[in-house]
Point group: C2
Chain length 274, copies 2
């Protein structure tokens, strides 16, 4: 059985560290990457601080994931420092990238046509978005102005996406999904959930262990829910396989076994919509 390629996500932005916004980007990416058959191993959130960004990226490269995907810090303001952080982490200079420059120019010329700005000037702030680490490739941004960026370094594919969710998602869908699909081959993630009542988690624990031991490619995790009157737990059952029938059989077998054990303990089980 082949193992899924590893992915790490790095989210950059003070707004995440002060709790101003929920990290919906990491959630969306993790869900999409998992469903494409790859495995997210770590999510790191750092602020708009050059040292922090550079060291988070350096540490992540050392763990040798197949892909690193960053969000945030690609815009025109002084605190958009992601590309400077990447350049420092991999020891390459930032340089004006012609393709990126063209993308940015076309975007602002379009804004002139739409009446969103009066005229186009290539200021140092706009130019900033076209300064990429040497060897990088810009990725078209169908929604906003800052291009995404792709760069390969020591066998790791690094992809830098903007922090604005609509821009991040659009570049991911257009430019990144095909790369990830190719890396995952036919591997796909399959999951199911059960709603369990009437058995405390500490009594479910040995049942889960037993069923996982008997089904080595299936992962079962219990998620306790707060409930006043009874013990209430969600059981999440998942597997990764390159064969949908094999995956389906694995999940069904595990569900059958754990359900029977729960009934024996006097608990109730019903399937949950995911």
């Amino acid at each position: 059985m082949s193992t899924p390629p590893k992915v790490e996500i790095i989210c950059i932005g003070n707004e995440l560290l002060i709790g101003k916004i929920l990290n919906t980007n990491a959630h969306w990416l993790a869900k999409r990457i998992t469903s494409l058959g790859l495995s997210v191993r770590r999510i790191t959130v750092v602020g708009d601080d050059l040292d922090e960004i550079a060291s988070a990226i350096k540490e992540t490269i050392q763990r040798k994931p197949s892909f690193i995907i960053t969000t945030g810090g690609l815009g025109p303001t002084f605190d958009d420092k992601t590309l400077e952080g990447v350049a420092r982490a991999i020891g390459r200079e930032l340089e004006e990238n012609k393709e990126a420059l063209e993308m940015i120019k076309r975007k602002y010329e379009q804004y002139v046509v739409e009446g969103r700005i009066e005229k186009f000037e290539m200021t140092q702030y706009r130019l900033k978005m076209a300064k990429l680490p040497r060897g990088a490739k810009p990725l078209p941004n169908p929604v906003g102005t800052a291009p995404g960026v792709l760069i390969e370094y020591e066998g790791v594919v690094m992809i830098m996406l903007p922090g604005v969710p609509q821009e991040m998602m659009a570049i991911f869908d257009e430019s990144i999904v095909p790369l990830l699909q190719r890396a995952a081959g036919n591997l796909t993630f399959y999951e199911a959930s059960l709603d369990v009542r009437g058995v405390p988690e500490s009594e479910l624990a040995p049942l889960i262990e037993h069923v996982m031991h008997d089904n080595p490619y299936v992962y079962i995790k219990s998620h306790p829910k707060i409930s006043e009157k009874t013990h209430h737990i969600e059981l999440h059952i998942s597997t990764t396989s390159d064969d949908p029938n094999v995956a389906k059989q694995r999940i069904e077998r595990a569900i059958m076994q754990i359900s029977n054990l729960i009934y024996e303990k006097g608990g109730k089980v019903k399937p949950l919509q995911i």
Copy 2:
């Protein structure tokens, strides 16, 4: 001016890495810790994997924050590995903690009274929640069964909280807030937001730089919103101070200056509710 104590958050759970759930725990903690006057420097998310947990904790300790707060992995199942990870990271044995054992016993005895279980037995799975790294202190869990855990190591206060949000929040409010308040002294975080329309972010960038240069204790960050017809940006203005009047004056002065510069560019500004 004193600088705020640094905090790092580590969230543990496969459900976060597969995108099954949004990381509302990190968001809630980051907001609360920031409002208490401390500074969250990094958030790390890892799965239920002993190596990953231990190395994330070890790396975090090396950055020497004042506090490390973890969520998740304290329950009775085999994949609740946080305390084992902490023990390995700091080179201390796990041992039965009498105080923790008492807390857990009382909880299950209460479940018998409430009719949620028939009788109480101290199984190995329940005992597991009372095995803490040597020198650790259990923190009462007013909502669920697994106690929180506090341990000091090389000048870093490490606090382990459960992953169930209601349990995490209850232990935080009861046992952690007083510790953080003492560490922060009178420091408090102040913020305001402006809704800006009609100026692209690349033209706002030099204005922000100018105002921040003139107001060294104020941080201004632009958050572009996707809008079809016009440029639309949220400006977030923040400062940390031990004097509410000083903070208020700083924020008001920065708002006045940036608003005037935006009007000059033909843009519109209005205050936003936070």
